[in-house]
């Protein structure tokens, strides 16, 4: 299909996901536009990963329509998947393979030829010059994250899905990753990421959806969400130094109970 710059890259309408009788995602709808970084914010167990899994075609939702670059994930899964790049929350690659072999596997799957010099220059770009012959398990958390992102974007997809990409990273690695995510936006491509870091949501996301108990309870820009909820008594009651932050809005809307 012809890519119209105003058409959303990702459209999710009325998505519900169940595991047995447990409904993990309830009637979720949102869109992500080109050159947009969209954040899914929610406590543990909110249904963020389940929503992404449905978009990625890893599970069949109970109901709902999902299209990626105009392709329905169920009717044309391969076309839809060719347009997306994915970093799963818990991915591991075959521990027997070296980084070079893993990257070649995925570039091969996408039909991209990657001579050794090209591959080396990609590794240089992410400051992993010496990683080609290492195993994934030998890399630090931040290095693994960079490799996962390299692989997720090896085919230059128009939609990049990242599930908690900065979990467990030190501040430097996190900043660096934010810049890489922003570079994807610079190309006009869309990013959908999940996080429970408010700081991250405020710093890099153009729009965010706050999700809790399987439902999206608010969608807007971080600024607009603060503006809209700054007078909500629940939000004011949890605010700490007088100034309302996104975190106050988040806790005000999702409650103070700790989720396991």
């Amino acid at each position: 299909m012809i890519n119209n710059d105003h058409a959303p890259i990702l459209e999710v309408a009325g998505l519900s996901v169940s595991y047995g009788s447990f409904q993990a995602v309830k009637e979720v709808s949102f869109t992500v536009k080109p050159a947009e970084i969209f954040g899914f914010l929610g406590p543990n167990g909110a249904g963020k990963t389940s929503t992404l899994s449905a978009i990625e075609g890893l599970l069949s939702p109970v109901s709902g329509k999902i299209s990626i670059a105009g392709y329905d994930i169920h009717k044309q899964p391969l076309h839809a998947k060719a347009n997306m790049g994915v970093q799963l929350q818990s991915t591991s690659f075959q521990p027997e393979l070296t980084i070079r072999e893993i990257i070649k596997l995925y570039s091969g799957i996408y039909g991209i030829s990657l001579p050794d010099e090209k591959l080396q220059s990609i590794l240089n770009d992410v400051k992993l010059e010496g990683a080609a012959t290492k195993r994934f398990g030998q890399l630090s958390g931040g290095q693994q994250q960079r490799i996962s992102l390299v692989i997720a974007t090896i085919h230059d997809p128009t939609l990049v899905l990242l599930d908690e990409p900065t979990a467990g990273l030190d501040p430097q690695s996190r900043r660096q990753l934010w810049e890489r995510i922003e570079a994807i936006r610079e190309k006009g491509h869309a990013v959908l990421l999940t996080t429970h870091s408010m700081e991250e949501a405020e710093a890099v996301c153009d729009r965010i959806a706050i999700m809790d108990h399987g439902k999206v309870i608010a969608i807007d820009t971080p600024e607009a969400l603060i503006e809209l909820h700054k007078n909500d008594p629940n939000v004011i009651s949890v605010s700490r130094k007088g100034k309302i932050t996104l975190e106050d809005v988040f806790i005000g809307l999702t409650g103070r109970t700790v989720r396991s």
Partner: protein, 249 residues
């Protein structure tokens, strides 16, 4: 620019290359599949005159095939499922069955390697020779019997999600098969069990392998054993695929 679906042949070859590399680096499982068959051929040298070359070769191959299907295939599939290797591949634009097909091809190559290995060791060390037709037929039945064990491996990963449980279940089935198959064949556990073992998956594979080595001895019983092997393979694979989940949680 809109990415198109990549060419399936490129994608499949990349997958195959990665799976062969993984298998090659996993030498422990390769050695496991070849070692015990060789030990049998070597240690039974004295018995071969009494039992016949076909008997020794078929027991040795049967154990190797069991190791490939149950230990090699099932354990590696469950480990990769646990690690999320499959989920990562499933979000790429390849038909899902490619993922399993590529792994099966690696295991079929292992079966071919085992068969050659057993023939060569049997010839060099035990002076066992078969007719050209015997070698050919045995090669074919090795794949059919190997298919049965791969189906059984698939059944195990279909029934059991946890990879530690798959590990212990596979070992148990493997050792159980060897003990019952090898000793039961000598009638060590009585005649009723001997007949049950004869028609068990291990027994039917043993029958078709040993008869293929001496094609002249093929009779209606062998044909029934061949059919039974094929039916076992189909039923195991069907159920194993049906119950299979790509995720371990």
């Amino acid at each position: 620019m809109e990415p198109k679906i990549p060419k399936f042949s490129d994608a499949f070859l990349s997958l195959l290359r990665a799976d062969f590399t993984t298998q090659w680096r996993n030498r422990r499982s390769v050695i496991m599949s070849l070692l015990l068959p060789v030990i049998i051929l070597v240690s039974w040298k004295g018995l071969i005159d009494k039992l016949g070359g076909a008997f020794a070769l078929s027991i040795s191959m049967n154990i190797g095939l069991t190791a490939i299907g149950i230990m090699g295939y099932a354990i590696s599939v469950s480990r990769d499922r646990d690690k999320g290797v499959f989920q990562r591949l499933r979000v790429t634009p390849i038909p899902t069955y490619f993922i399993m097909l590529s792994r099966l091809i690696v295991q079929l190559a292992m079966i071919a390697l085992l068969t050659l290995f057993v023939f060569i060791v049997g010839y060099n060390y035990d002076k066992i020779t078969l007719s050209p037709f015997g070698y050919t037929l045995t090669f074919i039945t090795a794949f059919i019997g190997g298919g049965l064990y791969l189906g059984l491996g698939q059944l195990i990963v279909g029934l059991v999600k946890n990879s530690d449980t798959v590990n212990s279940t596979s070992r148990l089935v493997y050792i159980g098969f060897i003990i019952l198959g090898v000793f039961g064949e000598f009638g060590l556990f009585g005649n009723a069990l001997k007949s049950a073992i004869h028609w068990s998956p291990f027994g039917t594979v043993k029958t078709i392998l040993s008869t293929s080595m001496e094609p002249a001895s093929w009779n209606s019983q062998t044909t029934v054993a061949l059919l039974a092997t094929i039916i076992y393979a189909i039923v195991f694979s069907f159920l194993g695929i049906r119950w299979f989940k790509w995720e371990s949680r």
